[in-house]
Amino acid sequence: MTRRVRRWVLAVGGAGLAALLVAACPALPPFGGATHPYGDRVVHESLARQTANTIASVNFDQRAFDTLGELGILFASVIGTVVLLRQTRDERRAAPEPAAVSLPVRRYALIVLPVALLTGLYVVAHGQLSPGGGFQGGVVAATALHLLYLGADYRALENVRPIGLYEVGDALAASGYLVTGFAGLLGGTAFLANTLLPYGTFNTLASGGTVPLLNAAIGMEVACAVVVLLARFLDQAVEIEKESGS
């Protein structure tokens, strides 16, 4: 297909899609409307289970099975990336040149690194109370680790990042989620049903039954997944070269 044909197909298809989408807009519930039947029920149910953050309650309790699906996608895409970006036979590793980083940047990175790690843990730990949770906190903590690459150089990062450990952590966190789900089954209720632990006192760290457990498992899973992903990309961009290329 030539470029011109492709543009015409795009123009026709795009115009049709645009017309349909715009026609559908007035049929949606009006923006800012007061009827949210599912939302009201979810809030009610979440308060009954002593979970202050309703969104965490949806993710890790009322629709925890959906989150298992998301976990699967996350896990699969990490495996896919690791397989795609492995070192092939015609490639070799070249030690990266040590980077010259100015002193203010280095100091900033070394001061912010622990603060960012702590913030990541805080966001995970308070997931069932305030905005945040495993998904966000995991990414923050994993990104924080890469301040070492930005503030020092790649070798400094490699020293504190035994990649095998993070791969194991990834798998452990995913199975931790499943085990918590099966525990509900053993307890005589349904898979991933939040009946295992007492619901606790509203708005405290230990409230919400299994929500904090699943939240922590997701936090670990996401953090390990991001570290493994970025490690593969950094390897490719910084270290691995084609053998004949240089």
Partner: protein
């Protein structure tokens, strides 16, 4: 107008992203455009869940029942997808790197010429 403006913005973002993917001359740019398309879905979902004068259904600092709250279901859907979408972006970028290794180019037009 206000009752459909957010939906129209979501439609605009989605169509712009699609245009970018189809006309892209660089696969990395196309992956970036796909990220733009993804953000359209978040805008649409959150716009559906919004309630005038509402606040977030997070009761760590407000008394339950004291203020109207927005819909938490759509927020939960969007929230997980933001992070999972980023890892899928990473998978696509890994594919692009693989394509560049195998064929030495990331221009989709040159790639289709290679295939014949």
């Amino acid at each position: 107008m206000m009752s459909v403006l957010p939906y129209l913005v979501a439609v605009w973002i989605f169509l712009t992203g699609c245009y970018g993917i189809v006309t892209s001359r660089n696969l990395i740019h196309a992956v970036g455009c796909l990220a733009v398309c993804q953000s359209a879905t978040y805008v649409l979902l959150l716009a559906v869940g919004y309630r005038d004068g509402g606040t977030a259904p997070v009761f760590s600092d407000v008394e339950p029942g004291s203020r109207p709250v927005v819909d938490p279901v759509v927020q939960a859907l969007a929230l997980t997808d933001v992070v999972v979408g980023a890892t899928v972006t990473a998978l696509l970028l890994a594919l692009v790197i693989q394509v560049s290794k195998r064929h030495g180019t990331v221009d989709p037009d040159e790639l289709s010429e290679l295939r014949g």
